[in-house]
């Protein structure tokens, strides 16, 4: 009986620990432990913003903080993607959207739990909704080989769509169809 209860408590704790944003034991896909990093250590990642003509995403190389684990690095990438875009590009993510929690599974699936602004402040339009979704999906899958598919959640739960078009009920894989490669600054 005690053993069963301990096992249950362990499983629940595991689910809760994954959502912590501080240094935490990450998913089992973690690579070999890295040497303890200097606090200023940074990596170069490709982030995605709306092009000047509004018809595509463009990839931009940016310096972002290094993360010790797959989960921490994934969080850093999403945090950076949520920040305002460098001029003259525009972010596809509704203003005020924050990262509530993040989970990465052993199967290479990342769950990105965004705040409600991702829905309520979305301006609508199928193309911009595709850009919102794929700026996050592609930022994670392009920069992190350990992440194969990404599902966006809002306020802790699955949503049908952000603005009435793009199906978010399943994890999405990398899709560079929306990215224009010839306009990299």
């Amino acid at each position: 009986m005690t053993v069963v209860l301990l096992a249950i408590a362990g499983a629940v704790v595991a689910l809760i620990v994954l959502r912590q944003s501080g240094p935490a034991p990450a998913a089992a896909t973690d690579p070999a432990p890295a040497p303890s990093a200097a606090p200023e250590r940074r990596i170069t990642a490709t982030l995605y913003y709306v092009s000047e003509d509004g018809m595509a995403l463009v990839g931009v190389q940016r310096e972002i903080p290094f993360g010790e684990t797959v989960l921490e690095q994934a969080q850093q990438i999403v945090q950076a993607q949520l920040e305002p875009a460098p001029q003259p590009l525009v972010s596809a993510i509704p203003p005020g959207t924050t990262l509530r929690a993040m989970y990465v599974t052993e199967r290479g699936e990342a769950f990105v739990d965004l705040s409600v602004e991702a829905r309520t402040r979305h301006p609508g339009g199928a193309l911009d909704e595709l850009f919102t979704v794929y700026s996050i999906v592609d930022a994670l899958t392009v920069n992190m080989p350990a992440i194969l598919r990404v599902q966006i959640l809002v306020e802790g739960s699955e949503v049908d769509t952000l603005a009435g078009h793009v199906d978010l009920r399943n994890p999405l894989q990398k899709n560079l169809q929306w990215v224009r490669s010839d306009t990299l600054p």
């Binding site: 499983a11 509004g54 018809m55 339009g125 595709l130 802790g156 078009h165």
Partner: protein, 534 residues
């Protein structure tokens, strides 16, 4: 014509269990029926926080698992015969043997009981128990293990001295047709039927099509002019089949040996129908989906024009044009400013057996200069192996409780569009070409995307973005009569061309226009000068 959804053999529901709880209390919804080898059991559902939910204790009784609540950590652990499932209050996620599965809502405690979204059953419980648990929301069914419950959709066409009852059966299921007095009985080799049966038109040949006496049969009630019938089977799309039963009127002179008198003069022969039954591939019903509506305003232009108003206006004009010029039946997913769910839109088209689904939208961009129309059809890549299985109509070897497997044709109806992706691509190309003749096109004029409203449509389906409402010039255009008329004319032209192409191809077996390579490669290159700059 309207259709009524009937679960054949519903009368036997009461056997072997408590009667279903009917929707009375606020927040309750119609119960589901759990169909397994062991029989039928009712499963009450409730709506909590806008989500349809099952009580965990009802599920644990039906599916024999235990639930443990960890009051310290605040989690719920479900132990099935296979793996365990961990749920955490406040999170729409279930951990099944270490794998995370998203749910539309977190578990909710209400009145001392825990409730989980109905999708918990097919997504989490099925994965943990290692068995098939298929949730069919429209027909309120949960199918367990290897039960065979084909879908049957019926139509009746009364054509004077001939009535035609068509039953589309998916997956194809062996059956026999026998006459039993004044009824024809169609009996399927299945455990039950998930049937949508038509209301009978006024006819002296057929007075009704109803569930039969057993759960896997359908009864066709014959009218006073019945003379004879003939039944024929036709292969359908990808694993489905079509059963056509022609019911012929008796000749006016009574057959020798029959005592049925024909009183007075022969009944007047019904006037011949104005139009013959359209050939296979022709269009009878088109569903036009005015995007957004009600609380969902969609995008908004700088002058305040709302996408939901533009889409409704164009949808109404398109309906009028198609009805008067093509003589087809056109159904709008909304004809006012209502909020309509994305599932409901596809379901309306499916329930009316529409031949085409056209969803109308206006686009938006954070860049005011973005302009031009775009045509989308569904992309399957995002749906993984499941979509490919649907597209190929494959069967699946399902484990059976107690060991062994059994081949069951699993059609994932949530992904019905996968079966029509090539027709949708052909339709999208035609619509893109006819739009290009009349309105400015975006540089990305034809594309594939995982759009929620398209995936459940069981017919060729496209989504048309008519222009960018966020572009000041295009906002004016979208609100204008002339531009809306151009869009309508272009869509009518595209639909006519699709009709003519598909009729031709179904008559001569000529392939529908299709370029080589994958769907993604099949996109037409778009000359850059064709894009309008606002």
């Amino acid at each position: 014509m309207y259709a009524i959804a009937v679960l054949a053999g519903l009368a036997s529901l009461e056997q072997g269990g408590a009667a279903p709880v009917h929707a009375q209390a606020p927040g309750s919804s119609a119960p589901y029926t759990v169909l397994s080898r062991e029989g039928r059991r009712p499963l009450p559902a409730r709506v909590l926080g806008g989500q349809e939910m099952f009580a965990l204790e009802d599920l644990s009784r039906l599916f024999e698992f235990t639930v443990k609540e960890d009051t310290l950590a605040g989690g719920l652990t479900i132990e099935t015969r296979g793996q365990s499932i961990v749920l955490s209050p406040g999170q729409g996620l279930a951990s099944v043997g270490g794998r995370l599965i998203s749910l539309p809502a977190a578990p909710v405690r209400d009145g001392g009981r825990w409730f989980v979204p109905v999708d918990f059953v097919p997504r989490a419980l099925a994965a943990a128990a290692g068995t098939r648990l298929e949730l069919r929301k429209p027909s309120r069914l949960v199918l367990v293990g290897d039960v065979r419950v084909p879908r049957v959709a019926g139509t009746i066409d009364a054509l004077g001295a001939l009535a035609k009852v068509t039953l589309d059966v998916a997956p194809a299921t062996p059956h026999e047709v026998t006459q039993d007095g004044s009824r024809l009985i169609v009996r399927f080799q299945a455990d039950a039927l998930d049937a949508t049966l038509p209301a009978a038109p006024p006819s002296e040949l057929v007075t009704g099509v109803r569930p039969g006496d057993d759960a896997a049969a359908i009864a066709i009630e014959l009218g006073p002019r019945f003379g004879s019938y003939r039944a024929s089977d036709q292969p359908g799309d990808r694993g489905a089949a079509r059963l056509v039963i022609d019911i012929l009127a008796a000749t006016t002179a009574p057959a020798p040996g029959t005592s049925a008198p024909v009183p007075g003069p022969a009944p007047p022969v019904d006037p011949p129908p104005l139009l013959d039954l359209p050939p296979a591939g022709a269009l009878r019903t088109i569903v036009i989906d005015a995007g957004h509506g009600g609380e969902e305003e969609g995008a908004r232009g700088p002058q305040g024009t709302l996408e939901k108003e533009v889409t409704l206006s164009v949808a109404r004009r398109l309906k009028a044009a198609l009805e008067s010029r093509l003589g087809v039946r056109v159904i709008l997913t909304r004809d006012g400013d209502q909020t309509v769910g994305l599932d409901e839109r596809a379901a309306l088209a499916n329930n009316n057996k529409a031949d085409l689904f056209v969803s109308l939208h206006a686009n938006a961009s954070v860049r005011a200069s973005a302009a031009g129309a775009e045509v989308f059809y569904l992309s399957l890549a995002e749906y993984g192996d499941q979509a490919e299985r649907v597209a190929r109509g494959e069967s699946e070897a399902l484990p059976v409780f107690g060991g062994g497997t059994r081949d069951i044709e699993v059609i994932l109806w949530e992904m019905a569009q996968a079966r029509y992706i090539e027709q949708s691509a052909a339709f999208a190309r035609l619509v893109e070409a006819t739009l290009r003749e009349r309105v400015p096109m975006s540089p990305r004029a034809i594309q594939q995307a995982p759009f929620r409203v398209l995936v459940g449509a069981n017919m060729p389906a496209v989504l048309v973005e008519m222009g960018f409402i966020t572009n000041p010039d295009q906002e004016r255009q979208l609100a204008s009569d002339t531009f809306q008329a151009s869009i309508v004319q272009a869509l009518v032209d595209g639909i006519v061309q699709y009709r003519d192409t598909s009729v031709r191809s179904s008559r001569s077996a000529a392939p529908v226009e299709r370029s080589g390579g994958s769907e993604r490669e099949a996109r037409r290159p778009v000359p850059p000068e064709s894009g309008m700059r606002g």
